[in-house]
Amino acid sequence: MINKEMGATVSGPPLLSISQLIKDFGETRVLRGIDLEVARGEVVTVIGPSGSGKTTLLRCVNFLESYEGGSIQIDGREVGFLDLATRKRRGERDLAAMRAETGMVFQSFNLFPHLSAGKNVMLGLRKVRGKSTEEARRIAAHWLDRVGLGHKFDSLPSELSGGQQQRVGIARAVAMEPKILLLDEITSSLDPELVGEVLAVVTSLAEEGMTMLMVTHEIAFARDASQRIVFMDEGVIAASGPPRELLAQSAENPRLDSFLSRFRASHF
């Protein structure tokens, strides 16, 4: 695990800037005014009980979910809307181009089952980045190699283990050279013995300075890999700070304490 002091330097204006984000699912307000900034090269982890809105927050960042209020900017550009006042949405092509700037890795992998591992990675390179087949193949091979699956280029997702599928999922996202990588509980549907190989890939990306916003239940991993942990509870950020400071805060924050106690019992 990396030491956060040795991690990439964090500086400059925020890459991702979320302010006063409000999201409703019908009558239920799931995000109630979220403010969050992520600097270039920073790794921020969102933790919190289920139903606290952390996955929804992540999905708003690449506009898989729209939102009722507030703003999300990546590199100073509003993600989903052309005009915040009238809430006029970006057109389809424009939105697709914005989404190409963020990478997302899903809890349930969501690999394209009709394409080989290599072609899963190549698809966006060819159809979105406009690379030639040869160049896309070269880049895909490079990234599959990086996640330790160079030999699985032609394997179909159904022929891979969960951990291998998720590593292809990571390769598919990072091959697009996104400005920020969103990781949504990427180890939650893995058998315990497969979690390590996936987290090792994430750690190496963090060491190289990839900006990441991730949701995870792996508290020990969050502590070691991220510069900052954000604790969400009932649609708001209830606490945040550098990992050790935040974990130490639990004495003053009963909700955080009760959330963390579950992990202490089993993992600490």
Binding site: N62, L64, A96, S108, H114
Partner: protein, 216 residues
């Protein structure tokens, strides 16, 4: 019996061609129209979705024979006279379009939502997502019912004989009108229809096997 069949064959050739032409027209036009409307039913704006839903439910709620007579006798009364052949093709195509719409809807909706999300996440546009991710996966589920539907279209085309279009069925009845020996001709007719449809279902099984590697 063989004798009567051999005698009848030359007379059936023209009718057989008409049956094939009607079937091909119906199948091809309904495929294009049904896929477009099916996609619009899933992704279109609310008004469009409602319109297509009403169209599909109405057409599928009418017996195909009634639809056939409605187009042939009803449209001229509304100032749109169509000849028998065109009426027949229009009616059968409308019916088939309504079916294809439902096949498309079922097939596309069987693709897990996460697939569309993953395709969005790498920056594919709507058409890119359909072409590269959704359709290739939906195709496998679309194919078996659709090929069954093609077989139905071939069999259903026999109804056009009721409008006086000389298809295989009509030609068979014409020969029977001369020979007064129905059985051999109906056996022959059944054999011809079965041959066409057997070829279709064999194709279907072959194609299904080819795409069976796609698993979630």
């Amino acid at each position: 019996m063989i004798e009567q069949i051999v005698y009848a064959l030359p007379f059936l050739l023209g009718g057989f061609q008409t049956t094939l032409i009607v079937s091909v027209l119906v199948v091809v036009i309904s495929l294009v129209g049904g896929v477009l409307l099916g996609v619009a039913l899933i992704y279109g704006p609310l008004a469009v979705r409602l319109l297509i839903r009403v169209f599909s439910d109405t057409i599928r709620g009418i017996p195909i024979l009634v639809l056939l007579f409605f187009v042939y006798y009803g449209l001229p009364a509304a100032g749109m006279p169509l000849d028998a052949f065109t009426s027949a093709v229009v009616a059968l195509t409308l019916f088939k379009i309504a079916q294809v719409i439902e096949y498309v809807r079922g097939a596309v909706q069987s693709v897990p939502k996460g697939q569309d999300e993953a395709a969005k996440a790498i920056g594919l546009t709507f058409t890119g997502r359909l072409r590269e991710v959704i359709f290739p996966q939906a195709f496998r589920r679309f194919l078996p019912p659709w090929i069954n539907g093609v077989a139905d279209a071939v069999k259903g085309s026999a109804l056009v004989s009721l409008l006086g279009v000389i298809d295989l069925m009509y030609a068979i009845n014409q020969v029977i009108g001369r020979t007064y020996d129905a059985m051999p001709l109906y056996v022959l007719g059944a054999f011809i229809y079965i041959s066409i449809n057997y070829a279709l279902s064999a194709t279907s099984r072959h194609v299904e096997r080819r795409f069976s590697y796609i698993r979630e």
